[in-house]
């Protein structure tokens, strides 16, 4: 286990186990995870396929529940929330970035970014202001009326990032955000995440296979067979 490098932890996992059932068979994915992630930190989760890194990310983001243990994020024990409350909590605290962007093809870039704001009772003008700001941050202010099919992969992912930040969430979770992108676009996305972390003080937790992408994080946590195997700070120090 590793404590947060700086500041108070915003994410705290204690004794987290996750077991999936397939027919009668139990498949343990995470086993006894204790983890603190500090507020305003940028962390990467790495590990081989099946190591449980995406499962860990899902638990932190509140889209899955632990079989045992507790997940406390932004002061809330999220495993105790109902589905409806958990959805509201996600809307308030978490911004998602997926590997395959997952934009709605029938909506323009503007409308895709606006989606999470439909849940908040905001005046239309305020929604517009926030969406335009988010798109400006990701450098797509001139692509508001473009549909996903009219954008490159990198641009689509930047729209997805704008969608993730438009509600000004506390935490941004990114699952292989550069996995489907070429090197240049991937670099742009990582630079953007860096910017969100440094300039806007967002806590970012990113799952990645790519060591170069992980290098952008302050802390790299390595998982193996459902357990935290190592924590690497960018300075190069390795904790085991």
């Amino acid at each position: 286990m590793s404590d947060a490098a700086d500041g108070k932890p915003i994410i705290q996992l204690r004794g987290v186990r996750k077991v999936y059932r397939r027919d009668q068979q139990e498949i343990p994915v995470l086993d006894g995870i204790d983890l603190d992630i500090a507020e305003r930190s940028f962390e990467a989760l790495m590990g081989p396929s099946g190591s449980g890194k995406t499962t860990l990310l899902n638990l932190i983001a509140g889209i899955d529940r632990p079989t045992a243990g507790s997940v406390k994020v932004a002061g809330t024990e999220i495993q105790t929330l109902s589905e409806g409350d958990l959805a509201s909590w996600r809307a308030r605290y978490v911004g998602f970035i997926f590997q395959q962007y997952n934009l709605l093809p029938v909506l323009t870039a503007f409308q895709n970014v606006e989606l999470p704001l439909l849940l908040a009772k905001l005046p239309r003008a305020e929604r517009r202001r926030r969406v335009e700001t988010a798109l400006r941050v990701v450098g797509l202010a001139d692509r508001t009326e473009h549909y996903p099919r009219q954008l490159s992969g990198g641009q689509e992912q930047r729209v997805a990032i704008a969608r993730a930040i438009v509600t000004d969430p506390t935490i941004i979770v990114a699952d292989e955000p550069t996995g489907d992108l070429d090197r240049k676009s991937g670099e742009e996305v990582l630079t953007l995440l860096d910017l969100l972390h440094r300039e806007f003080g967002k806590t970012i937790v990113m799952v990645t296979h790519d060591p170069q992408a992980a290098e952008r994080a302050e802390i790299i946590r390595k998982l193996d067979k459902g357990a935290l195997a190592a924590t690497e700070r960018r300075a190069g120090e390795i904790e085991r």
Partner: protein
């Protein structure tokens, strides 16, 4: 963008499928409304029948006449205020396909009992003054291009011979129950012309009863009077008389009504199939919406809303397409069946029912896919376990 706009846009994510489904719904709606229009056309006469009018006919069958002598006896029955009579003439105008009803009537009393049959005072006077004069309904006159003064030749069948009439008036109707595709001429002309053995015979007696007079009491009094005579009578309200005609085709009407209900059931199946496909394809999309904060309730509302949108579009298309179809098919029926079935405009009731079923069906058809979409496990839906 508002939540409703998101629902509408999502409904047309696969435009071709959404439009084909809406067209499918529209076809079902058109079929339903068309079948209901046919049923309504059959029932129109009975539904709009006057409550104070009764019909006296031969008890054995309507094809057997009543003696003229019954007229005075019926007039004297307590409660009866007016009496008229009419004989079904049959006959053919130029060709068998030119079917329309022709009645020999006692014009003054007939016009009195049927005030919904309107003629101008001049036309009325002209008809009364011409023994061979006839009046024709406005639709009939329009169909054959007849105008006042024209000669009409009818080949008799029930009453053999070549019959000549002069159009003295074109009547209009103020009631749905009284159609404008019939020809009326003087019973006296018929009675004077037929052979001796067929004189002084009446097809049916048409009576009006006073306000508040129980029709059953009048019917009983009339029929009792002619019990054990050569021509026993059957007296019934105008509505019952019309219904007796309908009962001859009741099996067909019931079949049409069943088919119309089945059509609505098919409509719901079409929508259910589309909504099931649409939600299955978009499992990941719903999971993403849930992940970014949409609750299960929001997702359910979206899916049900999409069903509603497609159902409503289909209903709108169907309701818009039905009147022209009824018009075209009505003309076709007229060409093949003559004026046997007068298809009227759409009735509000069936339209409301069809729209309600399309919209409600859309929502109902979406219920199961919506429930599934609302309950999906995000991790499974995002399809990544790593």
């Amino acid at each position: 963008m508002e939540f409703v706009a998101l629902i509408v846009k999502s409904a047309f994510r696969n435009r071709l499928r959404a439009l084909l489904t809406a067209v499918g719904v529209a076809i079902a709606i058109v079929s339903f409304l068309f079948l209901r229009t046919i049923v309504s056309a059959w029932n129109a006469g009975a539904e709009n029948a006057a409550a104070d009018r009764m019909v006296v006919r031969n008890r054995i069958s309507i094809i057997f006449p009543l003696p003229l002598s019954y007229l005075d006896k019926v007039k004297r029955v307590p409660g009866v205020t007016d009496v008229s009579w009419a004989n079904w003439f049959g006959g053919m105008y130029k060709d068998q396909r030119n079917f329309f009803a022709k009645f020999a009537v006692d014009a003054p009393t007939y016009l009195s009992i049927y005030p919904e049959m309107t003629l101008s005072p001049e036309e009325k006077q002209a008809w009364m003054g011409d023994r061979m004069g006839a009046v024709v309904g406005a639709k009939l006159a329009e169909k054959y291009g007849w105008k006042v003064g024209d000669q009409i030749a009818i080949a008799g069948d029930i009453y053999p011979g070549d019959w000549k009439f002069t159009v003295r008036g074109v009547y209009h109707s103020t009631s749905k129950a009284f159609d404008e595709r019939t020809m009326y001429f003087h019973w006296k002309y018929l009675n004077e012309t037929v052979t001796e053995g067929r004189k002084d015979q009446l097809g049916v007696l048409l009576i009006r009863i006073g306000p508040g007079v129980p029709s059953a009491q009048v019917a009983s009094a009339i029929d009792k009077q002619f019990e054990n005579s050569v021509a026993e009578t059957r007296t019934e309200t105008e509505k019952a008389f019309q219904m007796a005609f309908l009962s001859m085709v009741s099996a067909v009407l019931v079949a049409i009504q069943i088919v119309s209900i089945v059509v609505l059931f098919i409509l719901v199946l079409i929508l259910a199939n589309t909504m099931a496909m649409a939600t299955r394809e978009r499992t990941t999309e719903y999971a993403v919406l849930r992940a970014i904060g949409f609750s299960p309730r929001h997702v359910v509302m979206m899916v049900v809303g999409e069903g509603l949108v497609i159902g409503a579009l289909g209903a709108a298309l169907g309701v818009a397409l039905t009147p022209p179809l009824v018009e075209v098919v009505g003309r076709g029926l007229e060409a093949s069946l003559g004026n046997f079935l007068d298809l009227q405009g759409l009735a509000l009731g069936p339209v409301a029912a069809a729209v309600a079923v399309a919209i409600g069906g859309g929502m109902l058809a979406s219920a199961v896919p919506a429930w599934r979409a609302g309950r999906l496990r995000l991790v499974d839906a995002l399809r990544k376990v790593d």
